[in-house]
């Protein structure tokens, strides 16, 4: 059985590959600063552009419910959209980055070019391998 961690890893790999800047938010992010608690969804903030939607959906559609129209609508209205990891039923809520936000998400590529103090780079040890995000 695939786990929420498998889904999370898959999303981060995809965002990295497409160079879509992102950062964690919500209860999972707050766990970093306090007590680790279970959650039934993980929130991410992503700086997704309209021209990246097709590729994002193409990358994720096998393992995730990722509705192209819903994502486009979210972009147009500045709302969030959800990705459901089919094998685990775990939900990921993607909030779109707004230019007025004080913290700015950052892509791995951007991080390699400059230091961004608002982004915490983490080393996560998964059961099979180490994933850096």
């Amino acid at each position: 059985m695939q786990t929420p961690a498998d889904g999370f890893s898959r999303i981060l790999e995809t965002l990295d590959r497409l160079e879509i800047p992102y950062m964690m938010a919500g209860s999972a992010a707050s766990s970093l600063h306090g007590i680790a608690r279970p959650t039934m969804n993980i929130d991410l903030v992503a700086d997704l552009r309209a021209d990246q939607v097709e590729e994002l959906v193409a990358e994720l559609k096998v393992d995730f419910y990722a509705d192209r129209e819903m994502i486009r609508e979210a972009l147009a209205r500045g709302r969030s959209f959800d990705l459901i990891h089919y094998p685990s039923s775990f939900k990921f809520d993607i909030f779109l980055f707004k230019r007025t936000n004080s913290a700015r998400p950052s892509s791995r590529a951007a991080n390699s070019r400059k230091r961004n103090r608002s982004v915490v780079r983490l080393s996560v040890w998964w059961p099979r391998r180490k994933t850096r995000f």
Partner: protein, 93 residues
């Protein structure tokens, strides 16, 4: 350190040890712990559904488990399965 409200049933000495472990845990391990705990919750949902529906197929067990934490609208959109058509789905109201 004052104990967080949800943990007042924990012995203060045990609590201090546990909080210290949490403080020492690297951020990546914390996220991994969150995800592992979330997976455990899903498995517990699944076990509960199996008890309620011992003759259900694995697919039905999965859908009923998912319906315990996903909204009806999401279940229909993602899995094409309407929890309301299964009156005993155990979905949150």
């Amino acid at each position: 350190m004052e104990h967080p409200e949800p943990y007042t049933d924990t012995d203060p000495r045990a609590m201090e040890v546990w909080l210290d472990l949490q403080r020492r845990m690297p951020p990546g391990e914390k996220i991994a712990a969150v995800l592992a705990a979330s997976h455990l919750v899903l498995r517990m949902y699944e076990a509960g559904v199996r008890l309620q529906h011992p003759e259900a197929s694995d697919r039905e067990i999965f859908l009923r488990m998912a319906a315990r934490h996903l909204d009806r609208d999401v279940m229909i959109r993602a899995y094409g399965w309407d929890p309301d058509l299964h009156a005993d789905s155990g979905r949150r109201i």
